[in-house]
Symmetry: D5
Subunit: 117 residues, 10 copies
């Protein structure tokens, strides 16, 4: 199933102003593609909207759709950024993922998108 079908947008109430929106989601879980055991992480999405904003209920369903999928940290981070950029066409967006300890490591990935001017 295509996870991005959950994503919805609504019109930016102040498109003439550049302002920053941040959504922090501390309840992300997916599966490790190697061991099949669950991974747990926190997702932070920061963006400057252009014409549309991300609707929160759809964003939650989109993120929850990773629950039983096996995927690496680096790939998740880039896929979320690509999907959200495609959905709301922001001026700028950053996705940060912070992961619970595995094998002694705590990991963090940060990826940015900048609209070409």
């Amino acid at each position: 199933m295509d996870k991005t079908k959950h994503l919805e947008t609504f019109p930016n109430p102040k498109p003439e102003r550049e302002y920053e929106i941040e959504h922090f989601f501390p309840e992300f879980t997916s599966n490790c593609p190697k061991t099949g055991q669950p991974d747990f992480g926190e997702i932070t999405i920061r963006y400057v909207a252009d014409q549309t904003c991300l609707e929160l209920k759809g964003l939650k369903f989109y993120l929850n759709a990773y629950r039983n999928e096996g995927i690496f940290y680096e790939a998740i981070t880039n896929q979320i950024l690509d999907d959200l950029v495609a959905a709301c066409q922001p001026r700028w967006m950053e996705v940060e993922t912070d992961w619970n300890p595995r094998g002694g490591f705590r990991s963090r990935i940060v990826a940015d998108y900048q609209k070409e001017s």
Copy 2:
């Protein structure tokens, strides 16, 4: 009723100096326009005054006037910025809103105003 009628100002005691004023209000509440259930957030107002400063008692009444209004995070943040800029004509102002968890998300919106020189 027009919420902005609560806003009052007093003369800046040192208008020849650019200095920063910050007011943090941790007790903001409004209603979600979708569900009608209450939202709770924290409002931070930072500004560099020009000729007038915002009076705190009026500012409190202005913010409390959102108590039973249904309005989205992004719209509140921009409306407060627009209303306060209109009231005290600052050199610069920033409004930040930080929201209690809803649907697993904690959200934060930051909008700025810069007087044209």
Copy 3:
């Protein structure tokens, strides 16, 4: 499938002494039986072993087996306590569950078992 089949035990290395063992598992997730949306919580298991101790790898598989099950907080807490008591027959055991905010509430349930003497 019977979740308890994951549980394994090993001999208590010092059964003649009453000492306390605590395992804290911050990565529990199940589903809300009403909405189908995921719940996230932290599980703390404290016990005084009698002849056997709980093996950690099996305990993890047991707890992860709730991942796609719909069940209420109060029922989970009591079921985990009942299952673990049956598996290792401790002198005393306590299960505490601490839940992420839902509808504005953070909840916590604590249940104890005391072997009859």
Copy 4:
């Protein structure tokens, strides 16, 4: 309107065991009966259920119903305890209210109920 009509219960899944349930609600607001200005507080409800448990959605509506009511700290705390005891007939219950600073004071009220045996 009678606030207690929001309260609902469901059967205790393990009535033969005495275990503790705690719900923490950090988003309580009511009005000061003297000034009419809003008060903000945090409500903690701890109880040992007998035959029924408090349903959370109804409990939220019950607490939100104080939003535009003018009432003192000491009276709120005792009224919530009385209403919840009447609704679910617990073996034991404690209501704690913690209030944001007013006039330089932070206040906290704790009241308990113990079923007669």
Copy 5:
């Protein structure tokens, strides 16, 4: 001037229940009787009311009346306890004072009153 004239009480809304009230006042200041320099401390008042409760505005004026008085930590703590017990006749009361560093020491005094039965 007699500081206790500021103190006012109101009827306990639930005199038949023993419940605890706590008021925390982080803005106390008096003077050191030796050096004349200001001391700063935090006052916590915990009590179980009998027929009357302490009114907060009067309590603030009472505590603020120590602002320019020279008095030792141990004496302040006992005097506040004696004055408040006389004003509201509680079943039990505790006064705790916590003092900012002076001469390298942080100090704390706790005194209790128990009504004779």
Copy 6:
């Protein structure tokens, strides 16, 4: 009385080096000019000395001299900066005032001085 008479200076031990000095004073109190009730705040003074440094004992007496004066946050901050600049003629100075909650707001004012080159 002129508060600035308390201020004293001593020769900068290393005037040929630009280095930063910070003094944090968490025990400031003055009165609100509207209500006459006390305000409490924390004062931070940061500066790069030129030929003289501020002596701490005099600085304390200077700040304590506001104890029974009625004055607004914005005015205090600028007056302290003006007085200290006049006293020690620094290359750069910043005064930050952070205020305890009043009417639900916590406020912070920051003002800077830069010597003209």
Copy 7:
């Protein structure tokens, strides 16, 4: 030199009440009797006075007198307790010493005195 000559007392302002006094001194330093290198610790003194209280300035001089003395943790703790008990004859006293890391260990010693009745 006899360190206890620094200790002074003053009359307990409320000898008929049992109340607790605590002085926390985070700036204790002595020398290790083995290596001669300095040790750093925090001293907490809690007591219930009988007829006299410990005066703070003398207590500071007493504690500072250990600065260049070589002595073990366990011996310091008991010596301070013995000296202070002899000086002010309390109903009860506790001395706690908390030590900065040495050789990977953080250490804490707690000793109590109870007046015989």
Copy 8:
């Protein structure tokens, strides 16, 4: 090699008083007997000495001697307690081990010894 040969004691400076000694060692490491990978934990030793106290340098060498040994949490905790009791014959002793996350779990074991009277 026998790890206990590192342990040394010195005479208790105040054997007639029952007082508590605590040593916290945050740098313990051993190996998992199953995987051979390192475990990391914190060891807290609390005791009431009788005639002798544990010398810290020897205690460090004793704990460091587990560095390349494969042993389970429950067994380590009881073995340390048994070895230290044998070495210094205390009136009472408690050993607590707190372990870094493994497989999502944080674990803690606490074992006590009480001299028979």
Copy 9:
């Protein structure tokens, strides 16, 4: 044995985007080359991958291989940076080591690598 033989890489899932990866490893231990006693530290690795990413299991084995090696802080930090740069050829990399107290000091070393363009 050559520690770098443990290091493995996998293809960067999004090589056309510059994004940051951080791995934090709080369980590093080596030996002091002077005393032979163990050192404990935390290692943070931050990098922008080019064509390959560092595989975590191999990275753990690489870092654990320092367990019984005697080496100085400054040398470890630079050696880890050199080895990891050689293994994955990043666009940019930073290695930070934070060390537990030794002799009263806590130390931190940070070294960076920037690919020449």
Copy 10:
């Protein structure tokens, strides 16, 4: 006695790379030149080595040599910076001193050295 005779250096293991070294020493004590009473502070030394690094044992003896010296905050900070620069000839160095409260103030001094190129 000349304190700088304690300072020793060792060859920088990677002189061709600019990397930062930080040593934090929370146990500094000297005497106030006015009152003779002890001051307590924390010293942070950050530097980019050129050909030599500071050896930690000698650095500790150097800092401990201030123990019974009477000297002002501003002078200590600059003297440590001058002495350490002379000893190891770094590319860049910063000395920060943070002081325990005295007379209500907490103070902090930061001084930098930059090698001329």
